[in-house]
Symmetry: C2
Subunit: 249 residues, 2 copies
């Protein structure tokens, strides 16, 4: 069940860390953002739709913890996950400019998020220039990621697709401080992974086994461990420049 939450506890840390990696923020900007976040905290359980295709949008949501994914479905049920939304990331900055949204957003895990109403958000953007730039950067980064997914879906072979997704998620979790050595949380089902890579569940399962067999990764109990990141990147034909927006941190 979705419910308002009142706990705090440095929840906004992931967001702040990530924004700092995107764009230097002034102290005032950090304060204002933190403030806005703490005013509208919410929780959602796993498998809940935060946004459904066709909904109108009138607020911005920022994920403090947990994973979500954006997805689209064809009439006959074929589904494509078009991106994951990780802690610290924004669901839909500026999306209120659209009349309705073109895709759904569903939680993969329990999620904590902040909701900032449109008017509040616009005021924040107007008063904090560095913050507005950071949100703009985030939108551009999303665009870049989406383009990379296009080549992943269109041109990479099954093993490369899955390896690439693992590399990307790992690199996106890094600036938020959510990687621990060479492993990170990976709380999605193989069905979700299949829909994110455009494969069938059966073939996805076999592909993961192949990655395991070659010793490149371990995936157990919702934890991904990458034995040799460079080797995995090489197997994925991974090129990092689409994530360069993240400054070295």
């Amino acid at each position: 069940m979705r419910s308002q939450s009142t706990t705090d506890g440095g929840l906004a840390q992931a967001v702040i860390r990530r924004f700092h990696a995107l764009r230097p923020l002034s102290d005032e900007a950090v304060g204002a953002l933190e403030q806005a976040i703490l005013e509208g905290l919410f929780r959602a359980g796993p498998g809940e739709d935060l946004v459904a295709e066709g909904d109108p949008i009138d607020s911005v949501r920022i994920v403090l913890s947990g994973w979500l994914y954006r997805h689209k479905t064809l009439e006959d049920g074929r589904r494509q996950i078009v991106n994951f939304i990780l802690p610290g990331e924004t669901c839909d900055a500026h999306a209120y400019l659209l009349s309705t949204i073109d895709h759904s957003i569903t939680t993969a895990t329990p999620v904590t998020y902040a909701e900032i109403k449109r008017a509040r958000f616009e005021k924040l953007m107007a008063s904090e220039r560095t913050l507005a730039e950071a949100f703009m950067c985030e939108t551009l980064l999303n665009n870049a990621i989406q383009r990379e997914w296009a080549i992943n879906l269109g041109r990479r072979a099954a093993l490369e697709k899955v390896a690439h997704l693992f590399c990307e998620i790992y690199e996106r979790l890094r600036p938020v401080g959510l990687v621990d050595g060479n492993s990170c949380s990976f709380p999605v089902t193989q069905m979700d992974l299949a829909d994110a890579t455009g494969l069938s569940v059966v073939h996805l399962n076999r592909t993961i086994q192949e990655l395991r067999a070659t010793g490149l990764i371990t995936l157990r109990e919702r934890t991904l461990t990458i034995a040799d990141l460079d080797a995995l990147k090489s197997a994925a034909l991974y090129s990092p420049n689409y994530l360069q927006l993240y400054r070295q941190v």
Copy 2:
């Protein structure tokens, strides 16, 4: 060869029409935009790279006429066209916020475009609120299109992919006034089309022949004619809501 151009002749019409369809513009905004466009006109021949992966960006380019495409290439040469850029569309609004760009932009035909330097562009955005919103909308629209491409590449069958691409391009050319009845210009090679749909050239060719055989389309001399748009959309499992940003015009 790329070269500065001095001719005018209502060249900015496609841009203005499209922006109006995106977002109502004030007369002042239109004037200022037109002015900025006419100050920096350029031409490029077909097959030229306007932007290469890894380039830094310090200006915004707006296409007045001609087609371009964004593409990414893997080490071993596999290429994916991740989107087309059509007349009236912007190459890279705000992209100067990125240190370098993650993909290349190449002309598919002779192209006329306007180049607005970053400083000039930012001044324009600051002084014309409706214009800034329109550019923001365009970025969001790009995002939405990119997501739709993900499901196209990941989940649609070959015939559906090609049919869907045809529908989308047709609908994107419509607000710019570049469709004529049920046909429009379609100046790309089958190789490009293959790389845009994630198919091989051979199979793309057979797919087009199938679309021809079923009487859905004609594609001759770089002109696409859609006999029955509804039928084509139905064959493509096309859902228009990702392009809803375009107001009815």
